[in-house]
Amino acid sequence: MRGEFAYAMTRPERERQRFAPIDIKEETLMTSQADAGRPSRLLRNLSAKIASIPMMLTAVVIFLGGTLWTVVYSFTNSKLLPRLSYVGLDQYERLWAAPRWVVSIQNLAIYGFFTLVFSLVMGFVLAALMDQKIRFENTFRTIFLYPFALSFIVTGLVWQWILNPEFGIQSVVRSLGFTGFTFDPLYDSDIVIYGILIAGLWQGTGLVMCLLLAGLRGIDEDIWKAARVDGIPVWRTYLFIVIPMMRPVFITTLVIIASGIVRVYDLVVAQTSGGPGIASEVPAKYVYDYMFQAQNLGQGFAASTMMLVTVAIIIVPWAYLEFGGRRRG
């Protein structure tokens, strides 16, 4: 048993020296059986490798393989079943010529822009207020965050009911005497996406608040003291000192919100089913409908590849900023 542990000298760059995860007994046993290549390398740490098989399969087969598969088949004219008959960029041309896709992208842009702006602003204001050593902090946090525990389906259905013109806000305000009051976003194709935005913000702002509050708590109290000694007003301290210091937190939050935005699907399905007409369609719904309803797989693949491109545009610069300089596991 003595000889079983050895230091991992092969990889001295590891910050913490660990015992090399080698099971000598197992290794020697295996080496004596295998004779090709470098079995000791391959069979070292065997249990860990076996235990990681699900992860490797998921990473390689589903995430990498599945993504490549979809991208490849987006260049084919698959209809009911995937077929490898390439048609070049036809599916993409058809996609961008489809009014429904263009509306979807426009909606995603509007929804995305306002979600980012409002959830960051509202989230930050709430976080800043929560950071004033207030009473009932836990109560307030519980209230702001509970919608995040609810599904988008529940969120969408509640707001569908509240925004219902016959019974909801519009009718309540009208019954107060403002008979000309109109507020029926879900039935007006010009503003329907804002109706969805209200629901989305209700669901997601709590999370942003929570993340930013954690960021604010990470700011050294001395910064505040120094700013106060220098007589800088609180709002200026926030705007010019604290927010720039919280840049990493903001960027991470931004990436989280953004990747959520691209996926928005259930909310729209529950609240409007894409209506009125096609006014509130979103890309994720386009993909689903073409893949599983219209049985036009090629279109679905092309649309989902476009979603992938959108995400890549968001993620790649962030990953570059975050991990570009230093290598991290």
Binding site: P21, I153, W161, W224
Partner: protein
């Protein structure tokens, strides 16, 4: 803490000076300063915005339909009836089936319980292997996994359909459990890897010296030591899987639809007269499980999303 609070409070301090009051000892907090009114006022207004939908749901679900047609959605019920709840649970219709949400509820239970357990078991072992038994190439897989977490699900849906169809489990609950395990893996693996890496490495070394192997260390040291992170992961998974809609609708047959899908079908069905009170009762029933998890778990929920989000 008390004096930093007061110092921040510039105008109030100045006002006190002007009034000839010299600070002596601990400064009492004044609850009704302009600053406090602004802070609590804003927070209160925000709280109302967040609570209103919950209130509306509850109130609507215990009114009768005649009252809903006459009154407004914010008014408290004149007479309370639990009939909508009973109907939502036992006899609301989706298409031809009229056995209410109960079927969806039990489907969701049958999906959520195994998915949560299996995904946590696999991910925790992955995280443990990555933190303590790193082998060559492990980081490559892990990086793919983490990058994969950002890929829109839509991109991977159809390949998974094919894989499951080949395995003969497309449309079954088993298939859906596998899908949830797959998509829970990136975030959970990250969560566990970071947690296990933060444990003192002496512990691991001591166990190695005592001759414990991979599984022994996992089951007898890591697992019992890490119960909080397992609870966090469980909260994350239970709420996430319960709230899922997309996978449920893509990977299961109608008789196995989870609660969210069935809820959507009940509420957005085009046939029949809309019964808003039943709809809201059904919505509340579907939201009840994650809400209970949320209210019971409290800070751990926050920790879960923070761990999942900030480090993601």
């Amino acid at each position: 803490m008390a004096d930093t609070f007061a110092l921040k409070d510039g105008p109030a301090l100045a006002a006190a000076r002007k009034a000839g009051v010299e600070p002596a000892g601990r400064r009492p907090r004044r609850m009704l300063s302009g600053r406090n009114i602004m802070i609590y006022g804003t927070l209160f207004v925000a709280a109302v915005y967040y609570l209103l939908p919950l209130y509306v749901m509850i109130v609507t679900s215990i009114k009768g339909m005649p009252e809903i047609r006459l009154g407004n959605i914010f008014s408290p019920p004149m007479e309370i009836t639990l009939e909508p709840w009973a109907k939502a649970w036992a006899s609301a219709c989706t298409g031809l089936n009229c056995d209410g949400l109960s079927r969806g509820f039990w489907n969701s239970v049958r999906i959520t319980v195994p998915s949560t357990l299996i995904s946590i078991l696999i991910a925790s072992i992955n995280g443990y292997a990555l933190a303590n038994w790193k082998f060559k190439g492990a980081d490559v897989f892990f990086t793919i996994l983490i990058v994969g977490a950002f890929i829109p699900y839509q991109v991977m849906l159809y390949p998974i359909v094919i894989v499951l169809r080949e395995m003969g489990i497309y449309g079954t609950l088993t298939g859906l459990v596998i899908v949830h395990t797959i998509f829970g893996m990136p975030i959970l693996t990250l969560l566990f890897r970071n947690y296990f890496a933060s444990l003192p490495s002496e512990l691991f070394k001591a166990a190695r010296i005592d001759g414990a192997g991979f599984w022994q260390i996992y089951f007898r040291i890591m697992l019992p030591m890490s119960l909080p992170i397992f609870v966090v992961a469980m909260i994350l998974q239970v709420t996430g899987i319960w709230n899922d809609f997309l996978f449920g609708v893509v990977f299961t047959r109608p008789e196995y639809y989870p609660m969210t899908v069935q809820l959507n079908n009940i509420v957005n069905s085009v046939q029949g007269v809309k019964e808003y009170n039943v709809n809201m009762a059904a919505t509340l029933l579907t939201g009840a499980v994650p809400l209970i998890v949320y209210f019971v778990s409290g800070r751990l929920f926050v920790r879960g999303i923070a761990a999942g989000a900030v480090k993601g």
